[in-house]
């Protein structure tokens, strides 16, 4: 019995450390956007879902995907799946990801999508985000948001024109048709999130 308790304890812990998996309900959060507003999931209650991207100013892979992330917003915001980009890098370790730099970067790149700072890194931790860009497509389910897809934007970070699998686009299109995305989990090489030094 004691052993069972321990096992449950450990299982609980590891799930918490690894973050959300497909099907999980997302906890609400409130983060400051580059426009100065506080953004929470309540702001998305009239949407069908959210394309949440852990992103940043500085990672070369994020830079390679910058235009593609903007295009995802252009394509799907009107259909009920806006992009929400979350920068969780510690500005202490990565000064190029400070709030001021985020404001400048969003302006320079004419971001139409919301760009928020996760200064405490709690959102990245609860999602289990590991790298940038790391996408979580969320689907509205009653009053909640559920994780429907986790992973990469597509299968070619180097060259958008050589992409053969548009994972996120396919996932959102599937959700718009009322289907579950396949695959619902992919992996990609990316920059590790710059965690605060313990």
């Amino acid at each position: 019995m004691l052993l069972l308790c321990f096992l449950t304890l450990f299982a609980g812990k590891s799930i918490e450390e690894k973050g959300y998996t497909v099907g999980d309900i997302v906890d609400n959060f409130e983060l400051k956007s580059v426009s100065g507003e506080m953004i929470s999931l309540d702001d998305y209650k009239n949407e069908k879902g959210i394309i949440l991207v852990f992103d940043c100013n500085t990672c070369p892979v994020s830079k390679a995907y910058k235009e593609r992330i903007k295009e995802l917003h252009d394509k799907f915001a009107d259909k009920g799946f806006p992009v929400l980009a979350v920068n969780s890098n510690d500005p202490g370790r990565q000064p190029g990801d400070s709030f001021d730099e985020m404001v400048k970067y969003a302006e320079k790149n004419k971001y139409q999508h919301t760009y928020v700072q996760d200064l405490q890194q709690e959102v990245a931790r609860s999602f289990g985000a590991t790298n940038t860009p790391h996408v979580f497509v969320l689907k509205k389910s009653g009053a909640d948001f559920k994780v429907a897809y986790i992973g990469a934007i597509d299968n070619n970070s180097r060259d958008a024109s050589a992409v053969t699998k548009t994972y996120v686009e396919d996932a959102v299109n599937a959700l718009l048709k009322g289907n579950n995305p396949t695959p619902d989990k992919t992996k990609a090489i990316g920059c590790t999130i710059k965690w605060k030094e313990a």
Partner: protein, 157 residues
């Protein structure tokens, strides 16, 4: 004939040198590095010239290789079109003896799990294997001071 050989070697010298530069490889090559038998503990580090925390910890692997008894492999995940940059980086930092390869496999999702199913894809990442016992350890993220030796001990024993 012998003279011709010498002349050819002389003329083709630069070509031979070039051939010793960082090779562009496909997953098969990495798979065989991971799977091949051997006596020594094997350390395979995944990095890229654009990844600052990766570059910062590369001297750890150089020291490790210089200490002997450990087989070190550096797997660059730079884009293949940046091969020149990787070659230059390797030669400037004197990493030539660290078995550097550039893994030219852009469809990441097709091979990341083959390296280790626990890997999210974030770099730096390091795989430590003891081919004799089959013991292995996968470390995602930066390696803190002194931790590399500890990981190697864990896998060796």
């Amino acid at each position: 004939m012998k003279k011709l050989g010498i002349l050819l070697t002389f003329l083709l010298g630069p070509v031979y040198l070039k051939a010793q530069d960082v090779p562009l490889v496909k997953y098969d090559r990495l798979g065989s590095i991971i799977g091949q038998p051997g006596d020594e503990v094997r350390v395979i580090n995944f990095w890229a010239t654009w990844c600052k925390p990766c570059v910062k910890e590369l001297p750890l692997f150089k020291n490790l290789a210089e200490g002997g008894h450990i087989e070190v492999h550096l797997v660059s995940l730079d884009y293949a079109d940046n091969l020149d940059k990787v070659n230059q980086f390797v030669s400037t930092n004197n990493y030539k003896d660290l078995n550097v390869i550039l893994l030219d496999e852009i469809d990441y999702n097709s091979w990341i799990d083959k390296v280790d199913s626990s890997w999210s894809g974030a770099i730096p990442a390091t795989l430590i294997i003891h081919p004799k016992t089959g013991k292995r350890l996968f470390v995602e993220g930066e390696i803190k001071d002194g931790a590399l030796e500890r990981y190697i001990d864990q896998v060796s024993n």
